[in-house]
Symmetry: C2
Subunit: 613 residues, 2 copies
Amino acid sequence: MLDHLWHLIVGSPLPTQSLSRERLNKIRALAAFSPDALSSIAYANQEIYLGLALAGSAGLAFLWPIGLAITGLLLIVALSYFQTIHGYPSGGGSYVVARENLGTIPGLIAAAALIVDYILTAAVSLTAGVAALASAFPVLWAYKVELAIVLLIVITVVNLRGLQESGTVMAIPVYLFLGVFLSMLGVGVIHLMVGGVRYVPQATLPVLQPITPFLVLHTFATGCTALTGIEAISNGVPAFRPPEARNAGKTLIIMAGLMGTLFLGSIGLTQFLAVIPRADETILSALAHWIFGNTPLYFLVQISTLLILAVAANTSFAGFPRLAAILAKDGFLPHQLAGLGDRLVYSNGILTLAAITGLLIILFNGNTHALIPLFAVGAFLAFTLSQIGMVNHWQRTRGRHWKIKAFLNGLGGLTTGITMVIVGVSKFVEGAWIVPIAIALMTLGFLRIRDHYQDVAQELSLSELLELPALTPPHPRIVIPISGIHKGIVNAITFARAISTEITAVYVELEPGSGEQIQQKWTTLWPNVPLVVLPSPYRSLVGPLLDFLDQTDREHNDGQLAVVMLPEFVPARWWHFFLHNQSAWLIKTALLYRRRRMGFQRVIIDVPYHLRR
Amino acid sequence: MLDHLWHLIVGSPLPTQSLSRERLNKIRALAAFSPDALSSIAYANQEIYLGLALAGSAGLAFLWPIGLAITGLLLIVALSYFQTIHGYPSGGGSYVVARENLGTIPGLIAAAALIVDYILTAAVSLTAGVAALASAFPVLWAYKVELAIVLLIVITVVNLRGLQESGTVMAIPVYLFLGVFLSMLGVGVIHLMVGGVRYVPQATLPVLQPITPFLVLHTFATGCTALTGIEAISNGVPAFRPPEARNAGKTLIIMAGLMGTLFLGSIGLTQFLAVIPRADETILSALAHWIFGNTPLYFLVQISTLLILAVAANTSFAGFPRLAAILAKDGFLPHQLAGLGDRLVYSNGILTLAAITGLLIILFNGNTHALIPLFAVGAFLAFTLSQIGMVNHWQRTRGRHWKIKAFLNGLGGLTTGITMVIVGVSKFVEGAWIVPIAIALMTLGFLRIRDHYQDVAQELSLSELLELPALTPPHPRIVIPISGIHKGIVNAITFARAISTEITAVYVELEPGSGEQIQQKWTTLWPNVPLVVLPSPYRSLVGPLLDFLDQTDREHNDGQLAVVMLPEFVPARWWHFFLHNQSAWLIKTALLYRRRRMGFQRVIIDVPYHLRR
């Protein structure tokens, strides 16, 4: 029933050979790799506005300069990744580049940073998407956590089903968003040309802080979230049609151009049209309101923002499970993350990401602004490691123009490194301190997991085992705990006698005096099988039994543990399960617990008895 | 480690023989049985005030009449239970009385009603206790759910440890409460005599509803919660010193007198001193404020209210597990509820009550007023069934003055029955409808559980088994799923060969082509044991394995199921558990699931391999 339900939700299993390797043309590739990058303006603009508005209308005059600075950074990072694409046509994720060029530990740090980045992309995109929707329909603010979780569930299910259709279906929100936003910016520029630059009157906003260099740097740091997602194409070069690297490079340039246009356009119009949001709307919503008024076009802007943010969250669901699978295959994460599920997707990775993202959304109460400080540090750490790795790559390979290439990547690494420090320091107390700790712990975790797998592989190897061990004595010692004399134990005793002659039944006397009666009945039924009655002054079933097992092992002193055979009821209906004392379950749990504590476990034989009613 | 923690919290196990049967004198018995009854005024007064205040100051004129009516009811119910004590000196809980005199079904209905009553006593007492505290320290209102849960946890732990000291320790809050409240009422009466009767000015309270008969009845119904707990002594007669019934009867009369004094005194003073509470305090707190001002005495009143309410919640923790154990011994509830735990208390019953009470507190957001509609119906149903049972009892036994006794109990039954109908009807839409449904479902559940136990006892009986079955063939068919060729499977194969010659190893080929290599290695190591390689186009481990098991059973067609032997890793550290694919666990779960669906289960043999690192 459970697996029927599962297949109803995620679809029927797919055979391994239907794994397709379809290549993407540039139009579909742009749609597949850009949503995260393009949609970043939804939260980056909001953060920049919130940061500067603290200093009142004077602060808002810094919108445009900060926008220009971030666009400059975007240019440098885009150039760096253009290089990466040509250096790693087989797909140069930060993990791969850092690991190959800088060593295992930097590679793992980059991987941990990427994992943080993927999780936060999902969480931030979902909450920002809900904010776009609630700006249009303020009654929805009260349900922001619920809405974000519903979106998360939809995306999780879609990904568990597998996205055969991804290219085409995903393209719709992306090109809708581009069309709607570019039109809006166009109309805004016409307004600007007709009406001239406007200023926010001084009294409009309360001045909560003076303008300080720290305030400006802090705002710059939060605005750097506009760059997140730019690395996506460099991870996915093999998905392009040949010549892969050239096509991917061109697509990156187009994407970076679009990112710059959207970001600079929207931030510039916000300043020069003197846009001020209502209390319950985002700055992008206020801009759309300014330009389109309360028309259907305004609602189209908000809906398309929500859609592209949902698709952006979806990119984490493509990237995270794939990265986790690579790490798992390299032995740094549990093997289970490397296995393709029923539907040819990494189901365990998808479910892990969904669980962590959901937890973050609930913990941060669906609040994008609270999540942002955690966001940029991970992304910029991955950028930096990847760029430094590329410098090393060019030095080693020394192709044509290698010095220029190394310089460009070095510039990228330096700039993103400085930005990372700015982001980390300026947002340290707001939560950024969690990220380095999380990354360090993850890196250590990766290493310990690998050590464990190596230990086990060595320990299990048969190469040192020169000859197979002799058979155990033909009659293993079997101990059968019984709860009384009834049909339920007959199967077990019959089976035990079929495989051994050294059998002891054990009855734990929970009620004083009950043992004698049992002993008498027993002797008439199985005169050849000894029954031991154990007293239990503390009314514990498992305590006396475990003591007895240890004692018999010591008495026999042959290094062999007694085998425990458990007669177990199989109830006819599920709820009957709760009506029996579950002795078998208790004993198994106790044996499992002992295995934790003592480091050994006995052979357990479960012999079922099927209740008919 | 887990059981060390457990014993740290609840104390070391106690041997069975330390069960003591200490008898209580009247002073300690009053303390042991009265907290629930005495503390009822904390919420009853509040409900009466809230009900009447809806009709403004004119409504408050009904405080005293309603108080008198409820006190009259109290008198009748007390007389009825006085009779029960003498009719059932061995302890006449409603379940016992109703079952013996009216039959099994009425007995079970009474038991279900009592269970509802116990749970709600715990929940209401805790939330009302927190309300008393928060009235004194309003900052605590924001944490009312958390505080109630903390109190619940403390009471649960104390009860799990076992209350050897109950009589003495419990007496302190009870006599503190009595002393403080009786003094307060005395001072209040002096105020009244000096200052005369006061009236609430008409404009003080908004009139939200007119005074209607329904409003008055409805308020009377909620106020009847003042009577809850009065039956406690009749359940506990054997705990008194001899002559048990006489001492218990005297204690009941004293308790009823105190209940009446406290209830009538506080409700009367509330009306005649014209007490009006602040928005964030209870009516009892307002009365204490009026009489004592903001003095330490006021805080003492609130603290003693909190303490007696906590002790009242505790009486549910004594009563519910005992009732559940009686029902379990009669076969109407799972056997597990009948077993004395480590500390000679019914731990499972205590934990069950704690879980349900906690759930109620959280669901109702720690709000006493919202819980009250559920409360009185269960209590009055149990009262009524018990009184009607007593009428039947006197008719059957026909002792001295039996007609008078039967009349008194009949009067009690009639009055409580009418009250139950009033409570149920007037509070139906506010939640009282849940209670009859819950009671009906519980009663049906009791009956189904008993039927199941009877079926099983009959099915398992060895009396019809004339001869024991023949031995299974000496060589059971054993199937060993393997995940690869390594040391981990050596133990299993050695053990299998010790007990059988019909062994088949099975390798499920998750990656196409991997089987061939395994097959070659296998043949060199265990040439005598056949290895079957199963293809798995959908990458499922358990699907092909289960199909193979079914198929071999069909092929052999000897009615015997193949035994599944599982080589299982025992990791050296707990977290290593997550690093392995848990094939053994997956297979066991699948076999368990099949046992649910198909109604059969195979014999499972777990053979451990202990990882050293």
